[in-house]
């Protein structure tokens, strides 16, 4: 049934349809209405779950770890500074291989204090061993949330579903809400193979001495790399049942493209409009959307991009002293390639700044210029920057 809902509601309804058993969350800023909605579902009996209100995000994820170790389906949600406070425990969750699902509403980090959208928060924890999925619209939020549980449980890896704060979280649009019995078929009751049980004691969280630690870390790496196949499989199974495909990456009018734009999250929608505009003028421009940022899809992206002459990477994050995270990973993907497109990086939309169609065109034009001349004038550019304010121009 189609309903007119916000991104936050889509996430909450997705978790409810997944029949989560434990929700643990810190309810105050920068929390979103996701957990408020879930607490309503629990209070009015629509969802049979334990709702644990705790005193910090650090505690929220710690409680999720305890709950998940007993073998129940576990969910939390956060955003921005809240994710930072969780970050210590995020590494524990992945190291213990607990299939927790978290929604992160992408919002900037202080300072300066700013509550608006960018993707710096989830990028900052890209090395925490969590699968990271990014959503383009509210439909993808509900679909990815449902899929996330199956991916997590089949890989024994925690999964973050990320979507842009305000741009999706507070935007209302039509969303097809799957029926409960259909979701039940897709996501049967969860059985964790190593759950805490007094009858059959196991140790969870033992010391990994130097003689063993590296092997454990390698096993995490192996699981992450292998999860690519599982994310794809789950996407295909979902498509078969619900008629909507969400894979690892999405290629939009990219087959014969000379210039490709690469991005992730809600920006993809606006970029598609710009791609159509250029196609209308006979320009061979396309989009590759990164849905899965961790594990990083080096092989898939190298394949999808290798026939283009230039690729413009637009991203709402940067690593101070380096480039955008997507751009640096992508550069690595082409490290030993025989053939590589020219790569351009555009940092944009930080702290809620609107990424306009004009800015997207600016990135596309620079990539088209590079494709034509075979040269990149400026590898990393900040779109919409007031250059006089930062001393780049007098």
């Amino acid at each position: 049934m189609k309903k007119f809902i916000t991104g936050n509601d889509a996430a909450a309804i997705g978790a409810k349809l997944a029949r989560v058993k434990v929700i643990s969350a810190y309810p105050i800023t920068p929390q979103t209405t996701i957990v408020e909605k879930l607490s309503e579902f629990v209070a009015n009996g629509e969802l049979d779950a334990e709702y644990m209100k705790v005193e910090s995000e650090h505690s929220a994820l710690s409680a999720c770890i305890g709950a998940a170790a007993t073998g129940v389906r576990t969910f939390t949600a956060t955003s921005s500074q809240g994710l930072m406070l969780m970050s210590e425990i995020m590494f524990v969750a992945s190291g213990l291989r607990l299939p927790i699902v978290m929604t992160n509403v992408n919002r900037s980090l202080s300072a300066p204090l700013n509550i608006w959208c960018d993707q710096q928060d989830s990028i900052a924890v890209r090395d925490s061993g969590w699968i990271q999925l990014y959503c383009e619209n509210n439909q993808e939020i509900i679909d990815s949330t449902i899929q996330a549980f199956r991916i997590a449980e089949e890989t024994l890896l925690p999964v973050m579903v990320c979507f842009d704060g305000y741009i999706l979280s507070h935007t209302t649009e039509p969303v097809d809400i799957p029926e409960q019995d259909e979701v039940d078929k897709f996501l049967p009751p969860y059985k964790y193979p190593y759950s805490l049980d007094p009858e059959h004691p196991v140790t969870i969280g033992a010391v990994g001495v130097p003689d063993f630690y590296e092997e454990f870390r390698y096993m995490l790496q192996k699981a992450m790399l292998e999860s690519r196949g599982k994310i794809l499989e789950v996407g295909q199974a979902f498509n078969k049942q619900f008629g909507r495909e969400h894979g690892l990456i999405e290629c939009y009018r990219s087959d014969d493209a000379e210039v490709l734009l690469l991005t992730m999250g809600s920006l993809s929608g606006s970029v598609k409009e710009v791609v159509d505009e250029y196609r209308g003028h006979g320009e061979r421009v396309g989009l590759v959307k990164v849905r899965t940022f961790r594990p990083f899809l080096a092989k898939e992206l190298a394949e999808a991009l290798s026939n283009a002459k230039a690729v413009a990477v637009l991203e709402k994050n940067f690593s101070p002293g380096s480039t955008g995270a997507l751009f640096s990973d992508l550069s690595g993907a082409f490290a030993n390639a025989k053939k590589s497109p020219l790569l351009l990086n555009f940092i944009c939309g930080l702290g809620g700044r609107d990424v306009s169609v004009i800015q997207i065109r600016e990135a596309a034009k620079a990539a088209m210029e590079a494709a034509k001349t075979g040269e990149v004038k400026e590898a990393v550019r900040w779109l919409g920057l007031r250059e006089t304010m930062v001393g780049l121009r007098p």
Partner: protein, 177 residues
């Protein structure tokens, strides 16, 4: 695609107005999107909200710079905010105003929504009245779908009052000469 920008002051319900309008279009089988301008909202400060309506899926997520229609919820806002900014040639500006006002390139429709809101709701929250005015001035959504959305959104007593506001504004909205 039709793009609509709402100007109001914090507390007048501009964000809700955008949402209700988009949902009314959705009920009519169209694609729609509504979102607030993400500022530091506080009561009384000028705020913006946006809606898009189309026959096909709406993918674009930028703010709206060149609206087809503008709705102004507060009678004094045109003095402090350029409400006509970027409006398309021949676009319509729907004003909460006792008198007509002229803008270059755009048509104007007006209604005294504050008085209507005070009479029907007892508070100067003009959003639903302005939706009635919008429906009359543009014909983009029907009065029936607006009423249906109001019934879904508000409790029955409050819905009744807001429906009165919408109907009164629909009746009283005039195009500027």
């Amino acid at each position: 695609m039709i793009e609509i920008r709402f100007h109001g002051r914090g507390g007048q319900g501009a964000v809700t107005a955008a949402r209700l309008l988009a949902e009314a279009a959705f009920l009519e089988g169209k694609h729609a999107q509504a979102f607030p301008f993400f500022g530091a909202e506080r009561r009384g400060a000028p705020v913006l909200a946006f809606a898009r309506i189309d026959d096909k899926q709406i993918r674009v997520r930028t703010q709206i710079y060149d609206p087809d229609y503008v709705v102004v919820l507060d009678p004094l806002l045109p003095e402090v905010v350029d409400v006509a900014s970027g409006i398309k040639q021949g676009g319509i500006i729907v004003l909460n105003s006792k008198k007509s006002m002229k803008f270059p390139h755009a048509q104007t429709a007006f209604v005294d929504a504050t008085s209507i809101a005070m009479e029907t709701l007892g508070v100067p929250i003009t959003n639903t009245a302005m939706l009635g005015a919008f429906a009359k001035a543009t014909g983009l959504v029907t009065l029936e779908s607006l009423i249906e959305v109001i019934k879904r959104y508000f409790s029955s007593k409050l819905a009744e009052k807001n429906i009165s506001a919408i109907k009164a504004a629909y009746e009283q909205t005039r195009a500027a000469a």
